[in-house]
C-alpha cells in the first residue's frame, strides 16, 4: 500500500507542476483539437451521422490523451536530468519504475482534460450529439485508458534514461498509435498483419471499451484486456528499468556532465 500512496502523492504533485505552466498547458489542449476539428469535418463531408459520428467524436477526443504522453514521455527524464533531480530519483530506495508511473500518469491525466475539451468542442461547434449510453462505464473506461496509456508512455520514458535520442522515436509514435490502436479506424479495416500488433497495445482495448460504453455495448471484456496488457507493460518496465539504471550508473549518464 506504500506503493499506492507513493504513486498517488507523486501523481498529484506532478500534476500540480505540469498544470502551472499556462502556455504549455494551452498547447496540449489546443493541438489535439485541431486534429479533431479536421476529423470532424472529414466525417461530416463523408455524411456520417448518429453512432458513427459519436464513435468518431469519442475516438478523436481520446487522441489527446496519447498526444499528451507521447510527446512528453521521452522528455520527462531529460527534464529531470536537467533539473538535477534524476539522481535524486535514482537515490530513492523505491524501485525506479514505480517512480516513473506518476510522471506519465500525470501527463495522461492532462490528456484527459484535452479529451473533455474536445468533446465539448464537438458538441458546441459541430453539433455532435454526445449522448453517452452508459456514463459510468464510460468514465471508468476513460480512467483505465488513461492508466494504460501512462504505462505505454512509461516504456518510452525508460528507454530515454539510457538512449538520449529516444525522444525522436517517442514523438514519431504519435500517429502510428492513433492509427494502429483504432482510435478512429476500426481494427477490422486495417491490413490483417497489423491486428496482432493492435491486440498487444493496451490503448486499443481502452478505446474500444470507451466506444462500447458510449454506444451502449458491453465494455467489460475490453476493459479486462486493457488492464491485462497494461499490467504486462508494468512488469516489462520494472525489469527493463533495472537494467537501464544499472547501465546509466556504469556510463555516468544520470547527470548532465
Amino acid at each position: 500500500m506504500k506503493a499506492v500512496r507513493l504513486v498517488a502523492v507523486a501523481w498529484w504533485l506532478q500534476l500540480k507542476m505540469r498544470s502551472r505552466s499556462a502556455f504549455d498547458g494551452l498547447l496540449s489542449l489546443l493541438y489535439p483539437m485541431f486534429f479533431a476539428t479536421t476529423i470532424f469535418m472529414m466525417f461530416r463531408h463523408g455524411g456520417a451521422a448518429g453512432p458513427a459520428l459519436l464513435s468518431a467524436a469519442v475516438g478523436s477526443s481520446a487522441m489527446g490523451i496519447w498526444s499528451a504522453v507521447s510527446t512528453t514521455a521521452a522528455f520527462a527524464l531529460q527534464t529531470e536530468r536537467r533539473q538535477g533531480t534524476l539522481e535524486l530519483l535514482v537515490l530513492s530506495p523505491q524501485p525506479f519504475a514505480l517512480l516513473l508511473v506518476p510522471l506519465t500518469l500525470s501527463m495522461a491525466t492532462i490528456g484527459a482534460y484535452s479529451m473533455a475539451a474536445t468533446l465539448l468542442w464537438g458538441r458546441f461547434a459541430f453539433g455532435i450529439d454526445i449522448a453517452i449510453a452508459d456514463p459510468v462505464a464510460f468514465v471508468l473506461s476513460v480512467i483505465v485508458t488513461v492508466f494504460a496509456i501512462a504505462m505505454l508512455g512509461m516504456l518510452i520514458a525508460i528507454s530515454s534514461i539510457r538512449y538520449r535520442s529516444a525522444w525522436a522515436l517517442g514523438a514519431a509514435l504519435e500517429m502510428p498509435v492513433w492509427l494502429i490502436c483504432g482510435f478512429l479506424v476500426a481494427i477490422s479495416d486495417l491490413p490483417s498483419w497489423v491486428r496482432p500488433l493492435s491486440a498487444v497495445l493496451a490503448p486499443t482495448w481502452g478505446v474500444a471499451a470507451m466506444r462500447a460504453a458510449a454506444t451502449g455495448r458491453s465494455p467489460w471484456a475490453d476493459l479486462a484486456y486493457c488492464l491485462l496488457t497494461a499490467a504486462g507493460y508494468g512488469v516489462v518496465a520494472v525489469l527493463v528499468s533495472r537494467v537501464m539504471v544499472h547501465s546509466a550508473r556504469a556510463r555516468a549518464t544520470l547527470a548532465l556532465t
Binding site: L30, M41, S165, A172, L184
Partner: protein
C-alpha cells in the same frame, strides 16, 4: 558583407548546428516515418468517414510535409540562437536580413521538399494510387510553390519569434490552423463559406488545389493562376515579415524590448 556568402555559408552552418546530433535514430523517425504515417492515418480515416479518395489525402498530407519545415525553419533558428546565447550577436551583425534568414531557411526548405517527394512516392506505391509520371513535373513545381509561400509566412513568424518567447507553441498553432483551413483533408468546396474566405489568404491552399488538378491530368498552364496566387501570398507575408523585423529591431534599440535570452 557578401549577401550570397551569408546566404549559403551561414545557412549551412546554422543547419548543421541545429542538427548537431546527426543520428539516424533521429533522422529516420522524423523525416521518413512520421510523414508517411500522417498520410496513412488520414487515408484510413477518410475511408472510415466514407470519403473514398485515397489520392486526395495522399497529396494533401504529402504537400504539408514540404511546407511545414519552411514555416518553422526560421523561427526555430531564432529559438536555437536564443538558447545558445548567440541571438544578440546575430541581431547586432550588419548582414542584410533577407539573405541572413533565407540562408538559414534554404537547407530546411530543400529538406522539406525531399521529404514530400519521398512521402508521395512511397505513398503511391503503398496505397496503389494512380499518379502517372507525366504529372510529376507539374506536381514538383506546385510543391515548390507551396514551400516558397510557406517560407514567406515563416519569415513573418521569425520576426514575431524575436518578440515572443513561445515560438514552439505559436508555430504549432499556425500548423494546426493550416491543417484545418488549407484544404489538406477536406476539399475547399466542402467547407463553410467563411472558412473558404480565410483559406484563400493562407499559404498552401492554392498550391494544394493546384496539385490536385495537376494529378487529375490538367497541365501546368491551367493551374498557373493558382500557383501565382501562392507565390504572391508568399511575397506578401515575406514583405510583412521584413517590415516587422526592421520595426522590431528599431524598437529594441529604443526600449530594449527584444527577448534576447
Amino acid at each position: 558583407m557578401n549577401s550570397l556568402r551569408i546566404f549559403f555559408v551561414g545557412g549551412l552552418t546554422s543547419y548543421r548546428a541545429l542538427f548537431g546530433w546527426l543520428s539516424p535514430w533521429i533522422l529516420v523517425p522524423t523525416f521518413l516515418f512520421t510523414p508517411l504515417f500522417q498520410i496513412l492515418l488520414f487515408v484510413y480515416i477518410g475511408r472510415t468517414a466514407g470519403v473514398n479518395d485515397d489520392r486526395f489525402f495522399l497529396i494533401g498530407n504529402a504537400v504539408v510535409n514540404a511546407a511545414v519545415p519552411c514555416l518553422f525553419a526560421m523561427g526555430n533558428t531564432i529559438e536555437g540562437e536564443r538558447s545558445a546565447g548567440t541571438l544578440p550577436l546575430l541581431i547586432a551583425s550588419p548582414a542584410k536580413r533577407l539573405p541572413l534568414f533565407l540562408g538559414r531557411a534554404l537547407p530546411v526548405i530543400l529538406n522539406g521538399f525531399l521529404v514530400a517527394v519521398f512521402a508521395l512516392v512511397t505513398g503511391t506505391l503503398l496505397l496503389r494510387v494512380d499518379l502517372p509520371p507525366a504529372t510529376w513535373g507539374g506536381i514538383a513545381v506546385a510543391i515548390a510553390a507551396c514551400s516558397v509561400s510557406c517560407t514567406g509566412l515563416g519569415l513573418l513568424g521569425a520576426a514575431i519569434a524575436l518578440r515572443v518567447r513561445q515560438t514552439a507553441v505559436m508555430s504549432n498553432i499556425v500548423l494546426g490552423i493550416l491543417i484545418v483551413f488549407a484544404g489538406v483533408n477536406v476539399p475547399l468546396a466542402a467547407m463553410p463559406g467563411w472558412m473558404q474566405e480565410v483559406a484563400r489568404w493562407l499559404p498552401m491552399t492554392h498550391g494544394i488545389a493546384a496539385t490536385h488538378d495537376l494529378a487529375a491530368g490538367q497541365r501546368l498552364g491551367d493551374v498557373a493562376g493558382a500557383l501565382l496566387a501562392e507565390l504572391a501570398l508568399g511575397a506578401f507575408y515575406a514583405a510583412l515579415g521584413l517590415v516587422l523585423l526592421r520595426w522590431l529591431e528599431w524598437e529594441s534599440r529604443l526600449k530594449a524590448s527584444l527577448d534576447m535570452a
